[in-house]
């Protein structure tokens, strides 16, 4: 008689004893890992144009170039209010730029992060928490590059700027833009800037800013740092920083309060007398303004009325 072989019962995978706590831990771990994966992916995209599109940040401009840029930046960030007024103190006769030094405790971590900043600017930024936060959180880096000044006047090479994120700066003229890109950037940059420059030659002072802006816009569409950072635009001196800081304050408020509505901008010159009233004041007395203004200009009601006063 042949004995039938015996088989051990088929092993089933052991089920863990049910525990709500274990399940909760699994889900917590899952959400943590997922958040980490998301953060990693966003960090990868952070310094690219995609990153800025995702952040919803307004295109930030900028390139500090030219003779007055350094002082403009300094003035902007040291203004008592963050909606900075930019006062440029540039003595064109002497070709000097006035700068102020501040005694602020150094933040080594911050200075290591932005090694290309001068101590003046670094200290200034640290002194202004909002600007520091702006620089750190939005991924703006400050391209502090007063390349037109002589080294003795504090000129700096732009070393390191290319390796960092979107640059915050100011354009102050086509010449500065030229110099910056000719000296410090790749052939791709130089080509782009030359093409832009070729379209608008020898501008007068009033046109220089527009030209620089045009160059910046040209750069927008043509130039991109190969290793991530992108310049997204160029703003005018003063307006750039003012708008930037102002916008950031509103961005912060809207993040905290979803119902926050940015108020309409106040009138730029609230103290200025209303124009029509001014005219009426001058013309209503029947003096020389009245005659000069209305004689020969037809018979408006105002003329008829005033003419018989």
């Amino acid at each position: 008689m042949v004995e039938a072989p015996t088989f051990a019962p088929e092993a089933k995978p052991e089920a863990k004893p049910f525990s709500v706590e274990n399940l909760r831990r699994s889900f917590t771990q899952f959400t943590t890992d997922l958040a980490q994966a998301n953060a990693d992916a966003r960090r990868e995209l952070g310094t690219t144009a995609v990153g800025h599109m995702l952040s919803g940040a307004a295109p930030l401009a900028i390139g500090i170039v030219g003779e007055v840029a350094s002082d403009a930046l300094l003035s902007a960030v040291t203004s008592p209010r963050m909606e900075a007024k930019v006062h440029v103190h540039h003595d064109r006769d002497k070709n000097t730029i006035s700068q102020t030094k501040y005694n602020v405790p150094k933040d080594s971590a911050f200075s290591e992060k932005f090694p290309f900043l001068t101590e003046n600017v670094l200290e200034t930024i640290q002194k202004r928490p909002l600007l520091k936060e702006l620089v750190e959180n939005i991924g703006i880096t400050v391209l502090y590059n007063n390349i037109l000044a002589k080294p003795s006047q504090g000129a700096l090479p732009s070393v390191g700027a290319v390796d960092l994120g979107v640059s915050l700066g100011i354009d102050v003229g086509a010449h500065g833009v030229h110099k910056l890109f000719e000296r410090n950037f790749s052939a791709k940059w130089r080509q782009a800037i030359k093409e832009a420059a070729a379209k608008n030659e020898a501008p007068r002072l009033a046109k220089r800013k527009a030209r620089a802006l045009q160059m910046g816009e040209s750069l927008l569409s043509t130039v991109n740092f190969s290793n991530g950072p992108t310049i997204l635009g160029i703003r005018m001196i003063g307006e750039g920083i003012g708008a930037l800081v102002g916008n950031y304050a509103h961005i912060q408020k809207s993040r905290k309060d979803p119902n926050y509505v940015r108020p309409r901008q106040e009138r730029r010159y609230p103290e200025r007398r209303d124009f029509r009233k001014k005219n009426e004041y001058q013309n209503g007395r029947g003096g020389q303004y009245n005659r000069r203004m209305y004689v020969g200009q037809g018979s408006s009601d105002r003329f008829e009325r005033r003419g018989h006063e």
Binding site: A15, P17, F18, L45, T48, A49, V50, N224
Partner: protein, 92 residues
Amino acid sequence: MSNKAVKEKIQSTRLFSDAEKIALLVRWDELLEEEIQKLEKVIDVYDQRYSQLVAGLKHEVEESLGSLGPNDSQELEDAQTLIRAGLGTLSS
């Protein structure tokens, strides 16, 4: 890979919110080829990681739920239903 395929990846990925997807697609023309390639790579990596995480979670939860039998209390069955529904949402 064509731009169309990358756009489809953007639309299907869980990396971005709907608003972000719209922002990306609206300003698509501003992106350079290399940026698009990088974006695609990041999306691929993220989606792969997402699938792995979901699979891991599913395995752990199924393992845990496997010990529950028909004689368990009503509360445990409710929990089972709830968690399975949650898993379905996560993995859909």
